[in-house]
């Protein structure tokens, strides 16, 4: 074996045997370093004749390159091994709970969510959203809506009254969102298509009634809208809101002072198993009141009932929220019990849209 072969053999063995990068560096210094074995051989080239150098030069350079390559390759291996060893020692228990992010904890109240759902549907039908005050005058809450003074229909409303002012008139907490119909018709020329979500108040409290609740009023006024349109609008709304392809609805004659003719609307449901199931079964559940706006109401707003016509409806937002999302009792809606909010609340980024679906 030539001297070069011996050198190479020794170098490669040392490289293979280097346990870590530091040991490998030692081998490099011992072989290719200034005083290394291969460097020493390189220095002998200067004393050689041209002939000798022609042979020994390439041989030594080849040796140097091969050893260098072997060191580089070995270094990569050692680096990778060292990294693997480090990673193996750097474990965490990923099953430990993370830090809950605010987005995962915050919740939107079902009433707000349902109002956003309703708004999405009616926006698509060309309605705008109107509002009005909770504290109303007797005129807007009753008189303008064709509730005659002393009429039994007034009593059915279980009205909250505020303390009378100096001249004895007393304001009321609105018993329905219908006053906003008047406020809108007073200032807006038909055609009108509005929905009015808001708080309403009645002196009444049990599992399905609360002293404060939420209503959605709807109003369409133009020169042609009739009960056939009313039926279509409410049918489409209910299908969209409850996210069902078909829903049996029952329209039956009823009475409200501010509509004539008046209709109450029931939806098909099954109450046989404790929980109310929509769209099946043979029971009916009343969900809203509606009708053609009473001629007196139109007159009270300065509209000629022989020219203008249209319909109005009122639906309990809390009630349809209860129905849609399986909430059996109304009272906890207003109790802010964190456990209830956790169960029934909605995630803040689950914004209801028609394009993405109301509920996800």
């Amino acid at each position: 074996m030539s001297e070069i072969e011996t050198l190479e053999q020794e170098a490669l063995t040392a490289i293979d045997g280097a346990a870590d990068e530091a040991a490998l560096e030692e081998v490099r210094v011992e072989t290719l370093g200034k005083k290394g074995t291969i460097s020493a051989q390189m220095k002998t080239l200067g004393q050689m004749s041209d002939e000798e150098r022609k042979v020994a030069g390439p041989a030594l350079n080849g040796l140097k390159a091969r050893v260098n390559d072997a060191i580089t390759a070995r270094r990569d291996v050692l680096k990778r091994e060292a990294l693997n060893a480090r990673l193996a020692s750097e474990t965490v228990d990923v099953t430990l709970p993370g830090r809950a992010d605010p987005l995962s904890k915050g919740r939107i109240h079902p009433i707000s969510q349902v109002m956003d759902e309703i708004t999405a549907i009616f926006a698509d039908m060309g309605f705008t959203v109107a509002e009005g005050p909770d504290i109303e005058t007797d005129y807007y809450n009753f008189t303008a809506l064709n509730f005659p003074e002393g009429h039994p229909a007034r009593e059915m409303h279980d009205t909250f009254f505020l303390q009378p002012d100096a001249d004895g008139t007393r304001k009321v907490l609105r018993t329905h969102t219908s006053p906003v119909q008047i406020r809108t018709m007073e200032v807006q020329e038909p055609p009108i298509r509005i929905v009015i979500p808001g708080k309403t108040y009645r002196q009444d409290s049990d599992a399905t009634h609360s002293a404060m609740f939420h209503q959605l009023e709807g109003l369409v006024i133009d020169k042609s809208t009739n009960i056939a349109n009313l039926k279509w609008t409410l049918l489409e709304f209910c299908k969209a809101f409850f996210e069902v392809d078909a829903l049996d609805m029952r329209f039956r004659p009823s009475f409200f002072p501010f509509t004539e003719p008046s209709l109450e609307v029931d939806i098909q449901c099954d109450r046989s198993g404790g929980e109310v199931k929509l769209g099946e079964g043979s029971d009916w559940m009343e969900i809203l009141g509606s009708g053609m706006v009473h001629p007196n109401v139109l007159r009270n707003c300065g509209l000629d009932p022989d020219v203008y016509q249209g319909f109005a409806w009122g639906i309990g937002i809390d009630r349809i929220a209860m129905l849609k999302y399986g909430m059996p009792d109304l009272r906890p809606f207003f109790e802010a019990d964190q456990r209830w909010i956790d169960q029934y609340g909605f995630r803040p980024l689950d914004m209801p849209t028609l394009l993405g679906g109301l509920s996800q």
Partner: protein
């Protein structure tokens, strides 16, 4: 309004099933609220007592052998004193539910003797209060037959909801007429023959003081009556609809009230002294009603009075002093008309709701006043005997005088379905309207039974409900002809943005009552008389809230009491400054308690979260403002806030000197004490309506972005300052050193310690210089730095920390 099927069939000839009748009632506007098909009576059969022996081990019990009509006789232990061999009664077998004792029977063992069922009393079947013994049936009662069938108790009871516009349906006859109009049979309500009577009525009626309250009044004496119990058929019907039989005379008035919607009253003639007059009550006049309660009347209320005083609260309730009883021999029968509004007001003011008031305030048919008197008279003669006098009629029965000019096209205009002249006329005639053909129009005369019908729309409703609402096919509203425009107002958008922003900050939305306890309202700057409820549902729900914070703090207390200590909740709703529409304003408010911070809360393997502090509330507050279009860099933060916040740890967010956008901070300890909740608790409120309206709509450009290619330079400074110097002053002074070059100033350290001396603090800031044209030289940087130091020192009195 309740009635039985057989009662209905007294007025309606029909083959229709119960189900069809009920469905039809609902679809013509008389909503069926409940049907009792009397299945509860099914288990009870007529049985015969074969033998009755003394119980071997009990003096008061007997052991009966009972033939129930099927199989061998059964052994029954019975405690009724009237149980005896040979009698017939109502037997309940094991498994039967006995309503009067609320027990489902099983085979019992009573003092060592097995009992296989029960012989029932009337009370046990809820037929009456009688419980002296078991039901004792006549000998011809058929053993084995269902008792209810034989006794006429299997008559289904229908309950319908009557809307205030349908006084005509407050009598069974009116309901039958409606069903007949809807095609369910023919009306067979018997005509009421007029009764002449003998001799004049000895008691006269004076309406001179009654004003408009009593248009007409009919009265008649029936002499020589015997007032025993009403016959079984009448009692059964009254019981079925929930009335208690009293005596024949009283039951007759109740029966006619429900049969014809015609309330009546009967006086014991022996207890009426002198003539009767309808007059306003005297202020403070005492009256004892048939309900045995004492009422104090006012001059706004009307009575029927004799020489002794008020004998009846007219149209609402008779008086105790002249009521009939079993000793009554001469009876005065009253059928009158009263003003609906005064009846309603009187009943409401006195808190009396009777079947009479209910009908009079909705309107009774004037035309039936006299027939009602005759019908009652006939029933008195039939059931109690006696001789009627002639009737005396005071006042004048008003005649219906409303005729509506009805264009036939109106039905289509309002409902979308055309109903032709023949059909419309048929419906209206069947409902009792007078119809005159005027070509394309009808003259429709409104009968006295329908005081609710005033105009064309009411006629459309009548035609629609009888022709069928289901005949109206849904028709789409005209669709939009362009892409929809935004439909929310700025306020609505802010409300939505505030909600989702706060929820995305880990807070839970609440919806809380608008009314709060008075002391809470006062504490939060409210409690004005104008915002106080006259009739709150509870004393702690009495005042409209001036702020949302008291509601949230009360909610926090409830949660803390349940063991939820870390809480982040908010509400976006209205608060009330006064009772005018513009006093109602939108507020976003939230509170954080315990360790419910934005980043994390509670205990964690990685360390326990810090308690919430003022800056958590400040961040929430500014986040809401940003979400509502208000740049938080443009607002001013002033120290201090409203009284319910900690004076030294609260701030007010302002826009200019006047506009208050909100406030934030620690809740004042005194407020926590009042609200009975413990901290740490911080909160904020943002007045959403106070945020300036967004500038010019349609301006969507955000402007071009010029980015510098040059590296920014950062320099740190620390100043020793008096503790009272606001950081904002330091930041403003530093930024003012070179408004072009300095793009950001940030606080990166605050140190307060004894080493600095009392009332001193060290505030460290990082100033960012952003060159635009060329890199800065050291000299240029030094000039700006020196200016920063000078500016801060000058405006704060502090010194650069050495």
């Amino acid at each position: 309004m309740k009635f039985t099927l057989s009662w209905l069939k007294d007025h309606l000839e029909t083959d229709a099933s119960l189900e069809l009748i009920c469905d039809t009632l609902t679809m013509i506007g008389l909503e069926v609220e409940g049907v009792d098909d009397r299945a509860a009576f099914k288990p009870f059969v007529i049985a015969e007592v074969l033998t009755a022996e003394r119980h071997p081990d009990a003096d008061k019990l007997q052991v009966l052998s009972v033939n129930t009509g099927t199989g061998a006789p059964v052994q029954v232990v019975c405690g009724a004193p009237n149980a005896r061999a040979g009698m017939k009664g109502a037997f309940a077998p094991p498994g039967a539910y006995v309503p009067g004792i609320d027990v489902t029977l099983s085979v019992g063992n009573i003092r060592g003797v097995e009992s296989h069922g029960m012989m029932c009393s009337e009370r046990e079947l809820e037929l009456s209060d009688a419980h002296d013994g078991i039901i004792d049936l006549p000998d011809d009662a058929p053993v084995g037959e269902p008792y209810a069938n034989w006794a006429g108790l299997a008559d289904p009871v229908i309950e319908i909801g009557i809307t205030p516009n349908r006084p005509d349906a407050l009598g069974v006859a009116g309901i039958a007429a409606d069903l007949a109009a809807a095609g369910l049979g023919t009306v067979k309500t018997p005509d009421v023959p007029a009764i002449e009577g003998e001799g004049s009525c000895p008691v006269s009626i004076d309406l001179s003081a009654a004003g408009d309250f009593a248009p007409a009044f009919g009265l008649r004496l029936v002499a020589g009556v015997t007032n025993g119990p009403a016959p079984d058929w009448m009692q059964r019907r009254l019981i079925a609809i929930g009335l208690r039989p009293i005596s024949a005379l009283v039951d007759i008035t109740n029966y006619v009230t429900f049969d014809r919607g015609r309330p009546l009253h009967v006086f014991d003639a022996a207890k009426v002294h002198g003539n009767l007059a309808v007059r306003p009550a005297k202020d403070g006049e005492a009256f004892t009603g048939l309900d045995e309660k004492d009422y104090t009347l006012s001059s706004a209320q009307y009575v029927i009075a004799d020489d002794d005083g008020a004998e009846s609260l007219a149209g609402i309730m008779g008086g105790a002093s002249s009521g009939v009883d079993e000793t009554t021999t001469d009876v005065l029968v009253e059928s009158a008309l009263w003003d609906p509004l005064i009846i309603a007001r009187t009943g409401r003011d006195l808190g009396i709701l009777t079947d009479a008031r209910y009908r009079f305030e909705r309107g009774v048919d004037p035309a039936f006043m006299e027939p009602g008197l005759d019908l009652a008279t006939q029933l008195v003669m039939d059931l109690c005997g006696g001789t009627p006098s002639e009737k005396t009629i005071a006042g004048t029965v008003p005649q219906p005088d409303l005729t509506i000019d009805f264009p036939l096209s109106e039905t289509q205009r309002l409902t979308g379905v055309a109903v032709d002249k023949a059909r419309a006329s048929e419906i209206l005639t069947a409902l009792g309207f007078g119809v005159t053909d005027k070509g394309e129009r009808l003259d429709v005369a409104v009968p006295g039974t329908r005081p609710d019908v005033h105009g064309k729309a009411d006629i459309v409703e009548e035609i629609m409900r009888i022709n069928g609402v289901n005949a109206i096919e849904p028709q789409p509203l005209p669709a939009l002809t362009s892409v929809g425009k935004p439909i929310l107002t700025t306020g609505q958008t802010r409300t939505r943005n505030a909600r989702r922003t706060l929820a995305s900050r880990g807070m839970s939305e609440t919806v809380l009552y608008s009314f709060i306890p008075r002391d809470h309202a006062e504490h939060f700057g409210g409690g004005a008389q104008a915002l106080s409820l006259v009739n709150p549902i509870a004393s702690d729900m009495s005042d409209m809230r001036p702020s949302l914070l008291p509601s949230l703090l009360a909610a926090a207390k409830r949660n803390v009491d349940r063991g939820a200590h870390d809480l982040a909740i908010f509400e976006v709703s209205h608060a009330y400054r006064g009772d005018q529409a513009e006093d109602q304003h939108r507020v976003a408010a939230g509170i954080r308690r315990g360790t419910a911070r934005l980043e994390t809360s509670g205990r964690n393997w990685d360390g326990t979260a810090k308690a919430v502090d003022t800056f958590d509330a400040k961040d929430d507050c500014l986040a809401v403002l940003a979400a509502c279009g208000m740049d938080p860099n443009k607002v001013q933060i002033e120290a201090g806030g409203p009284d319910w916040l900690h004076r030294g740890r609260s701030g007010t967010v302002k826009l200019g000197p006047k506009v208050v956008l909100g406030h934030f901070g620690e809740i004042h300890p005194a407020t926590l004490e009042l609200m009975d909740v413990t901290g740490p608790l911080v909160g904020f409120e943002v007045m959403l309506d106070a945020i300036p309206a967004p500038k010019r709509k349609g301006k969507t450009s955000k402007g071009a972005l010029t980015l510098s290619a040059l590296q920014p330079v950062k320099r740190d400074f620390a100043f020793v300052l008096d503790r009272s110097v606001p950081a904002a002053t330091v930041l403003r002074a530093a930024a003012g050193a070179d408004k072009k070059l300095i793009t950001n100033v940030a606080v990166f350290d605050l140190f307060e310690g004894a080493s600095l001396g009392e009332n001193a603090k060290s505030l460290a800031i990082e100033v960012t210089l952003q060159p635009t044209a060329k890199s800065l030289t050291d000299e240029e940087i030094d000039v700006v730095s020196a200016k920063v130091v000078t500016n801060v020192e000058k405006s704060t009195g502090g010194q650069l920390r050495g």
